[in-house]
Symmetry: C2
Subunit: 198 residues, 2 copies
DNA sequence: ACCTGAACACCGTTCAAGT
DNA sequence: ACCTGAACACCGTTCAAGT
């Protein structure tokens, strides 16, 4: 057995990531497994462990594809809006992506590295790219101060994320409260009002 | 074997929940298992499945204890502050609890029921109790309108949750940005400013 | 009636041994 | 050198069979 060399190391990685994205999309993170990924690409689990660092490494690479797709989706829909309207537009793009690719979006947060392990740099860069888009849109609103835009982008984006995360997973207790879209709009408008008038 | 009747059905449930809370506190959600819970209480997995509905039911009961403890912690620290200062106080209590009981707090969100399954009512009530405390504090700020207080409580609390969730799990890309405490204070102050002046 | 033990169908991870 | 197969130590879930 062995020594097939049907694919290079890089090709196997690419196949696995692609199959992993598909598996995650179909079944969700709770049913995701490296063994199923291996099955789908016609290799053994052993091969996956030769080519990746392990379970967490594989999940990170799959989640990285999601981050790239999310960045692109937000970029594409940006349009020509500016200021608060531009931020609302970005937030709605984020929500549209989360709804359309719920399992993949959810896996970004259901997966956590062992406590104390920092995210690898190549992955952190992809998170930065998301925040960068928000910062860019915020910059004119805070008088062109990059540091203030960076902090406001993080506050705002983490907040929007929290509303969608609790809302989409049914933990927001939305009985009698508005839609998540409405809540996010309320957040953006009031926060920006407070921020820019201060 | 069998027919020990050392404990009633309710006693076994209580033992399992207590052991589950301890296991979760020590090892985190990724290493949590019903088999280990069974081992710790000296019963078989089979017994656990007689007495609970299954894995999700067991996790929900363990998370419910966390929600109760969290509610109590927020209640206890409420003090006599009102308005924005009261909200800040509640948020800092929430953060203190999340830091001190990180694994238990994190499990509230790492665990998700199968898509489309709503949370059981007895569990949703515990979430309501948390929001109720925030609503109560917000009510004077929105001119005593309960509906507005309910929505503002959800917007604010989900936002605060998002900042802590991304911050504590290292996904906030906090290079150059402030502490999570600082971000939450920024959120509360600016949001309330926009909300109350509107 | 209550509980066990064993079975079933899975996991992540490692690594000697084949080609 | 590359990949497999099997092993190890686990999972969640079910249920016939003991007491």
């Amino acid at each position: 057995m062995a020594r097939r060399s049907d694919h290079t190391r890089e090709e196997i990685r690419a196949l696995a990531i692609k199959a992993g994205v598909a598996l995650l999309s179909e079944s969700g993170f709770a049913k995701f497994s490296t063994r199923e990924v291996a099955r789908r690409i016609g290799y053994t689990v052993g091969t996956l462990y030769n080519v990746f660092g392990g379970y967490d490494d594989i999940v990170l690479h799959i989640n990285a594809v999601t981050l790239d797709d999310l960045s692109r989706a937000m970029q594409a829909r940006k349009g020509k809006r500016e200021g608060a309207a531009g931020i609302r537009q970005l937030a709605l793009s984020y929500l549209a992506f989360a709804r359309e690719h719920y399992f993949r979006w959810s896996a970004l947060f259901e997966h956590n590295l062992p406590q104390g392990t920092p995210l690898p740099d190549w992955y952190a860069v992809k998170i930065q790219e998301l925040f960068r888009q928000v910062e860019e849109m915020l910059l004119p609103l805070v008088g062109g101060k990059p540091k203030q835009a960076a902090e406001a982008a993080r506050v705002l984006w983490a907040s929007i994320h929290g509303i969608y995360a609790l809302g989409l997973s049914g933990k927001l207790d939305t009985v009698g409260a508005g839609s998540v879209e409405g809540m996010v709009t309320s957040l953006i408008d009031h926060y920006l009002e407070g921020l820019t008038k201060a």
